[in-house]
């Protein structure tokens, strides 16, 4: 079920995820253009009658289909056609400005490991406008990035068993906010009072894939 490269030059791999779903991988890089294409492809697929659900990943789309209306092969052909088209001009995602108190329990350890002052960490973390590449894992969690290269650290060796909701964290070239108290292996550099998981709203989360996020220090 290998599909030749799309005209855009990226490698498209389409493979079964069981008998009623498939995974279409557009590429393997953390890349805003790839993510934009994945989100556009998921949106186009959702309009099809034979597709029950299409969820964009960083650079992929997971497609749940109705096995009475489609097969892996028929859907793979449709995805190939859709992916070869130029994606529509992406609308800029909604901009969220998030106040952060940069006093997380890991800020000193991060400062030591990176050889950067806490002030420099705040400056580097608040400088970019991040992209929400993917909403998922747990309710309301969004993978944000790319994080400045100077701040890149692998995940903690021992994950915490409980991270408080609202913790602002970094790992590798990514950053994110824990929406709920959950276990977590990222470095906690700050906290925010902004609620990410909104169970009584629909959709029940603040960030959507493609949104833009700007952090600022609430300490001024």
């Amino acid at each position: 079920m290998k599909i030749p490269p799309a005209r855009t030059g990226h490698r498209l791999r389409i493979q079964p995820l069981g008998d009623t779903a498939l995974l279409a991988e557009l590429g393997t890089r953390l890349d805003t253009a790839l993510n934009t294409r994945a989100i556009a492809l998921a949106a186009a697929l959702k309009k099809r009658r034979d597709v029950r659900q299409a969820v964009a990943g960083y650079a992929s789309v997971t497609v749940h289909f109705d096995p009475d209306l489609a097969t892996h092969d028929s859907l793979a052909a449709a995805i190939k056609r859709l992916a070869a088209k130029h994606p529509p001009m992406a609308e800029p995602g909604r901009l969220h400005r998030i106040p952060v108190t940069y006093d997380g329990p890991d800020i000193e350890a991060v400062s030591t490991r990176l050889g950067l002052s806490p002030e420099k960490i705040v400056e580097l973390h608040t400088r970019p406008i991040y992209r929400a590449f993917l909403v998922g894992f747990v309710p309301g969690w969004a993978y944000l990035g790319p994080l400045a290269e100077e701040l890149a650290l692998p995940r903690r060796d021992a994950p915490r068993t409980q991270v408080p909701a609202g913790s602002v964290a970094i790992a590798n070239r990514q950053t994110g906010i824990y929406p709920l108290p959950t276990p977590g292996g990222w470095h906690l550099i700050g906290r925010t009072k902004v609620k990410l998981f909104l169970p009584d709203s629909d959709p029940p989360c603040l960030f959507r894939a493609g949104d833009r996020i700007k952090f600022f220090s609430s300490q001024g």
Binding site: P16, G18, F197
Partner: protein, 312 residues
């Protein structure tokens, strides 16, 4: 609506479930719903409901329920020894309860999860398009929680079809729960396994570890080594078999994380998910590779079994 069933004892973990909330996946909310979709659907059809209506999912020990008025019920899935007023009643068959009758359960003999349906379904909270209970968010089902003693369940509506008792599903039409073979289709990252580890995955015995719940099961067995760069996170599905860095596979179930970046080396086919749903910690299982066409035949066989219940 008038009360239908009163909860005298809730059992270990009894929750309202339906077929889940697929539209919430893109918000990171697990799809949820009944772990054993076949048993859930059959219970509903046996009492004249639609497959998507609310049932009770009862884990390991069943509840003790008292009928507040006459109603038609069915019990499917795991055999937790259902009884009316102490007398055993057959499973996979609809039967009437009179007002005051007690529906109780004895000792578990097979499986992990039984389903109880009542004609007219259960009144329940709808959250993001589904009445399935999400305990983490405390939403959906019976006030977002598992049942407690003293709870009173009401009908969602008066039964729309004439009630027929004694409808049943014969054994050969049900999933073969005793055969712990889970049929799988090779996953998108199966090539990250060496040929030796790939054949181990599809032949060696695995065991469900103690770390097993509605989110998924950690499996114990031969350690698998995957090669290649770290993957970018992607959308996951129930039935996916992930391999984390420690090499012990994880089988994702109804309340799974919606996205992740571990290699998916296999996916349990939809016809084998009911069998997976009935596994307990300590149970042995095997993952046997099949092609898409075989998975389709297995799915069709279960669908036609359910279809036979619609034609009454």
């Amino acid at each position: 609506m008038t009360p239908t069933l009163r909860v005298q004892e809730p059992g270990l973990l009894t929750t309202v479930q339906d077929l889940g909330r697929p539209n919430a996946i893109s918000s990171g909310v697990p799809p949820g719903g009944a772990m054993d979709r076949f048993a859930h659907s059959a219970a509903n059809l046996l009492v004249g409901n639609d497959v998507g209506h609310a049932t009770l999912e009862c884990t390991l020990t069943g509840p003790h329920l008292v009928a507040e008025r006459a109603c038609l019920v069915a019990v499917t899935g795991a055999d937790l020894e259902p009884r009316i007023n102490g007398e055993p009643v057959p499973m996979w068959t609809s039967f009437f309860l009179a007002a005051g009758d007690r529906l109780t359960f004895g000792t578990r003999t097979t499986g992990a999860r039984a389903y109880i349906a009542v004609a007219g379904a259960f009144e329940a909270d709808r959250w993001l398009g589904s009445v399935s209970t999400n305990l983490m968010a405390a939403r959906g089902g019976f006030h977002g929680r598992s049942l407690k003693s003293g709870d009173v369940l009401t009908n969602a509506w008066e039964p729309r079809k004439p009630a027929v008792s004694g409808r049943g599903l014969v054994e050969h039409q049900r999933p073969g729960y005793d055969d712990h073979t889970l049929h799988v289709i090779a996953g998108p990252h199966a090539k990250r396994l060496s040929p030796e580890h790939r054949s181990l995955l599809f032949s060696a015995p695995y065991k469900v570890s103690r770390d097993a719940d509605r989110m998924g099961y950690r499996l114990e067995g031969p350690q698998l080594v995957t090669s290649g760069d770290e993957l970018l996170s992607f959308g996951l599905v129930a039935g996916a078999v992930q391999v984390p860095p420690n090499g012990q596979p994880i089988l994702l179930m109804a309340d799974h994380h919606t996205a992740g970046g571990y290699p998916v080396v296999a996916t349990v086919v939809s016809a084998s998910l009911p069998i997976a749903a009935q596994l307990l910690p300590g149970d042995d299982l095997r993952l046997v590779e099949v092609k898409v066409e075989r998975a389709r035949q297995m799915r069709k066989a279960l669908e036609s079994a359910l279809e036979s219940l619609r034609t009454f």
